[in-house]
Every structure is written in structure tokens, then in C-alpha cells.
């Protein structure tokens, strides 16, 4: 019965809203299990193609054999990347939540200081922050006779947690401000102190608002961990480069980097898929 052309006397706004089945965002329609399989097939094809080309010289190891041979070593490096990303995320999140709360402080000077710190780290290139951490933090600290060593990977964690902190701070500020001010007023009228309002009422509500962005940030952070190879941490990237130079075959470059790319993809894809799930779940229905 419903017609799309406006008819005098019919008010479209009164029609009950129907949820269309294909309300999936474009990203979900583009990147699903099928495109994933296609990508993996393409990857396998890229691996196998040179192997066929090499059949003429059976003494040579095939690309797949070389990749498999290096897998344990590269996997150790990848584990290191994952470890660095998880620890940076934990440190960055804790600091970022604190900084975000400080950004809505009632004390003006605290608010401004927190804003400045946030903006500084949010708008600095990650690599520059990493370089600063490597160069400014000493190799070891002697405090009260106790020697605390700072190996490169710990510096890398500190360096990567700074931008995470800044992003998290902005997410928190946005989430806190997105909660209707009426809640602050109601809480105050019920005798909650500001601190209680924050910890018992406001912060729990920010969790679901921040969660999708937070997971997104983690995926981005994981992708950024190969940066640490530049500052001399033996991550998957520097090991890949070492492997390539040990094998000394120029045609191995593309398959090997593709192999590493697929590891990152397999690790990060579920995270971004889950992020979209949470985004839909918590999105405000309009």
C-alpha cells in the first residue's frame, strides 16, 4: 500500500519504521568471510606460482619450503609484536582513562594541562615518539643501588603507549561528555559526591561507548608495532629482513612480506570484525 511519492494528506512519518535486512555497513559487505577466503586463495596462489616456475630446477628449495623453514623464527618475532602491542595497550589504556577524566576536571589548570598532554601526544608521529623514548631513556637506571634495566623492547612499549594514552584520553573525554548532563544533576540531587558520580554512574556508562573505538585502536596499534624494528628491537619485521638477506633471493621478497602481512591480517581481522559487532550492538537507534 505504501507509496514512495508524497501524497497530500499522507504523512510518511507516521509509518512504523521497518528495519531492512541489508542494513549492514559497507565495510561488512566488502569484508566478509568470502573476501577473506579469496584473499587467502590469492595468497596461496602467490606462494605456489613461483614454486611451479622453479620446477625446472628441483635442487632449489621452493618458496613454500623456505617460508615454512623460517616460520618458527618469524613466529617468535610475531609473538614479540603481539606482546608489545598488548602491554602498550594496557599501559596506554590505564593512563588514557586517567588523563581523559582529568580533561573534564572542574579545576581549570588540571583540565588545561591534561588537554595539552593529550594534544601533544595525539598529534605527534608515532615513530618520532619511539625515537625519543629510545634515545632519552637510559639503558639502565641505578636508583638506591638497585639497577633497573631498560632493554629496547620496554622502551618500545613505553613509546607506543604514549599515543595510545592520548587517543584513549580523547575517547574518554568524548564518552563522558556524551552522557546527558541531567545525570550529573540527578546524582548531585541524590547526594552523590562528584567522585562517586564519576566512578559509580558516569564511567560504567562510558565503557560501551568507548569499547568499539578502543578495539579499533588496538588493531591500529598492532599494525604499528613493526615500527619498533627501526629502533633495533628484534620484532617480526627485522627478523623478516634478516631472513631475506640470509636467503639472498630477490624474488623471495614479495612472498615473504605477503606471508607476514597475512599473519597480521589473521590476527587483526577478528578484532575489527568484533569491533563492528559491538558498534552495531551499542549504536543508538534512530
Amino acid at each position: 500500500m505504501r507509496s514512495n511519492t508524497p501524497v497530500r494528506g499522507h504523512m510518511a512519518v507516521l509509518h512504523p519504521m521497518r528495519i531492512r535486512a541489508d542494513a549492514l555497513p559497507l565495510a561488512d559487505r566488502m569484508f566478509n568471510i568470502w573476501t577473506f577466503s579469496a584473499l587467502m586463495l590469492a595468497f596461496a596462489a602467490a606462494l605456489i606460482a613461483p614454486a611451479f616456475a622453479q620446477e625446472a630446477a628441483p635442487a632449489e628449495r621452493s618458496t613454500i619450503e623456505i617460508l615454512l623453514e623460517w616460520t618458527p623464527t618469524l613466529a617468535k618475532g610475531f609473538g614479540f609484536n603481539v606482546l608489545i602491542s598488548i602491554l602498550s595497550m594496557i599501559i596506554g589504556t590505564v593512563l588514557g582513562v586517567i588523563l581523559g577524566v582529568l580533561q573534564v576536571s572542574q579545576v581549570r589548570i588540571i583540565r588545561q594541562a591534561a588537554w595539552l598532554v593529550t594534544q601533544f601526544f595525539r598529534n605527534s608521529p608515532w615513530l618520532v615518539l619511539l625515537f625519543y623514548c629510545i634515545l632519552l631513556i637510559p639503558f639502565q637506571l641505578d636508583i638506591f643501588g638497585t639497577t633497573i634495566p631498560f632493554p629496547g623492547w620496554i622502551k618500545a612499549i613505553i613509546g607506543l603507549s604514549l599515543p595510545v594514552m592520548a587517543y584513549m584520553s580523547e575517547y574518554m573525554r568524548g564518552a563522558i561528555l556524551s552522557i546527558p548532563t541531567g545525570q550529573w544533576e540527578s546524582a548531585e540531587s541524590l547526594g552523590f559526591s562528584r567522585r562517586q558520580t564519576l566512578t559509580d554512574i558516569i564511567l560504567p556508562q562510558t565503557v560501551k561507548r568507548v569499547l568499539p573505538s578502543w578495539m579499533n585502536l588496538y588493531a591500529v596499534l598492532t599494525m604499528a608495532t613493526p615500527l619498533v624494528s627501526i629502533i633495533g628491537v628484534s620484532d617480526v619485521m627485522s627478523l623478516t629482513r634478516a631472513a631475506l638477506s640470509a636467503e639472498g633471493q630477490a624474488d623471495l621478497l614479495i612472498p615473504m612480506y605477503l606471508y607476514i602481512l597475512s599473519w597480521f591480517f589473521i590476527y587483526c581481522y577478528p578484532i575489527s570484525a568484533a569491533t563492528r559487532f559491538f558498534e552495531r550492538k551499542y549504536s543508538v537507534k534512530t
Binding site: 623456505i66 623453514e69 623460517w70 618458527p72 623464527t73 617468535k76 629510545i134 634515545l135 637510559p138 639503558f139 639502565q140 637506571l141 641505578d142 636508583i143 638506591f144 639497577t147 632493554p151 629496547g152 629502533i231 633495533g232 628484534s234 627485522s238 627478523l239 629482513r241 634478516a242 631472513a243 631475506l244 638477506s245 640470509a246 639472498g248 633471493q249 630477490a250 624474488d251 623471495l252 621478497l253 614479495i254
Partner: protein
């Protein structure tokens, strides 16, 4: 008031945090039972990674020999050109054996051990089809190179090639092979050993006379150069030359014979 307190705290913290002045580095190494050596992991066959994750190569052999002579364990730390001197200054490593060229500028920062243990020069590897004959023919051409190599600047100034700098050897050789550049500017020792040992370079050559011979040095922190530690290292390197250990390891690692090693050996014999 608050400022003076802050200053006092800062001063106290600064006093407590010291990176630990080393009284006798050689004794410290022996006490610790290990020497930490910075080596290359992407410079086959001087220092490279085997597929089971172990470091191998000529310089790793040298590092192990240093440890054996001192009676300690060896710990190998992979370094790259851009961080090795900082690591040494910070104390993260005790010794650099990482294809490092000896020059006056670096001598102001770290302690270069004499005698030099190796020497290389500058040359290019290019397809035979390119028919390069002299350095001048590089002018205006795209030439692959490595970021941070000391000879990049000199060659650019003298012969004016258009340098395309890559982060690693694999990237640079891949670019050379797919024709992105006409030649790859690198160390003649590496080029010679590649041409001699690897089938994939059959259509390539080293067309020029090697230029700008550069001696390589192992290095200790600058303040240790004249101390017991630096002198001990100097003794070890001298003995490497004298006993023929370097020539023997050079050959065992499949590197083309080095005239420099022979010359040093004959001189010290």
C-alpha cells in the same frame, strides 16, 4: 617556595640516577661472565640469521673468539648502522663487531680498535647488459643504495647518480633485479662474494675499479680505548692477523680472499 622544592627534588633524583661509571670495563665483563657484542644480522656472510634463529657469519665467529679468549660467555645483540654507536655509548653492548668503517668523525664518538680487522671499498653490481665502464657513466642514472651507508654521499658528490636508498639489502637487490635502477652501490667485498658464489648473479658484474678503501674496526666505548679493555682488544685483533685466524675464518665463511687480510698477515708475521 614550590619551585625551590621541585629543584631540590630534581637535583636529588638526578644524583641518584647515574648510569654507573665503569671503573674497569674488562674486569666488569669478567665478573659478569659474559661479553655483549653488537653484530649485524642482515649482512650475509659477515653476520646473518640462520633459519633456526641462530646468528652466523664471519663477525659472529670473531665475537665468539673474543669471548673464548676472555674466558666468558658471548651474548649477541643484533644492531644496525643507525643504532650501534648509541648502544655502545649507553652500555647496552660492550663491543661492536658490525662491518663498521673506521673514520675520524666516528673516532670522536667511540673507541676504534687498531689494527683494523677488515677492509672494504666502494663498487657497484650491475647487469652485464648495462655495459657500464667507468664511474662517470652513473651520472644522472638511478642507482640503488642502502640508507645510512657512508659512501652514498661521496659517490653522489663525485659522480652525481640519482640515488634510490633502501632500508635493506633484499629490497635493494629486488629493485636492481626488476630494473628499477641500473646498478646497486655497495661494498666490493659483498659484491665479490655474491658474484663468486651465487647463480642468480650470473648476468651481473662489478664493472668499476674499487674506490675509497675503508678499513673496518671493532669498537669499544671511547673512554676504554686506552684502558686495559681497549688494549686487550687491540692485542686480540693483532693476533687474529698474525695467526691467520681471520684469513681462515674468511675462507670458511665463503668470502672471496681479501688482499687486506693477506697484507696485514704478511706484515705482522
Amino acid at each position: 617556595m614550590t619551585i625551590s622544592i621541585k629543584t631540590a627534588i630534581a637535583a636529588a633524583v638526578a644524583a641518584m640516577i647515574s648510569t654507573g661509571a665503569m671503573a674497569d670495563a674488562l674486569q666488569d665483563i669478567k665478573d659478569a661472565g659474559k661479553i655483549v657484542v653488537g653484530v649485524k644480522q642482515d649482512y650475509k656472510p659477515w653476520g646473518y640469521l640462520s633459519s633456526d634463529g641462530e646468528l652466523q657469519g664471519l663477525e659472529i665467529d670473531l665475537a665468539k673468539d673474543v669471548a673464548t679468549r676472555l674466558g666468558v660467555e658471548v651474548e649477541l645483540v643484533p644492531v644496525v648502522a643507525s643504532n650501534r654507536m648509541e648502544f655502545l655509548q649507553q652500555g647496552r653492548i660492550d663491543l661492536i663487531i658490525a662491518t663498521m668503517g673506521d673514520n675520524p668523525k666516528r673516532r670522536q664518538v667511540i673507541g676504534m680498535i687498531e689494527p683494523n680487522y677488515y677492509a672494504g671499498g666502494t663498487n657497484v653490481i650491475a647487469p652485464k647488459a648495462a655495459e657500464l665502464s667507468e664511474w662517470e657513466s652513473l651520472r644522472g642514472k638511478d642507482v640503488c643504495a642502502l640508507q645510512g651507508s657512508y659512501y652514498n654521499r661521496r659517490v653522489t658528490e663525485l659522480y652525481g647518480p640519482n640515488l634510490v636508498a633502501f632500508a635493506g639489502i633484499p629490497e635493494a637487490t629486488a629493485a636492481l633485479k626488476n630494473g628499477s635502477c641500473i646498478a646497486f652501490l655497495y661494498d666490493n667485498t659483498w659484491i665479490e662474494s655474491q658474484l663468486a658464489s651465487d647463480e642468480q648473479w650470473a648476468d651481473f658484474e662489478m664493472p668499476f675499479a674499487t674506490e675509497d678503501p675503508q678499513a673496518w674496526s671493532i669498537a669499544v666505548p671511547l673512554e676504554e680505548l686506552d684502558q686495559a679493555y681497549g688494549q686487550k682488544m687491540s692485542e686480540i685483533v693483532t693476533d687474529w692477523h698474525k695467526s691467520g685466524f681471520l684469513i681462515e675464518r674468511n675462507e670458511a665463511n665463503g668470502i672471496a680472499p681479501s688482499p687486506f687480510l693477506q697484507e696485514q698477515h704478511d706484515m705482522l708475521k
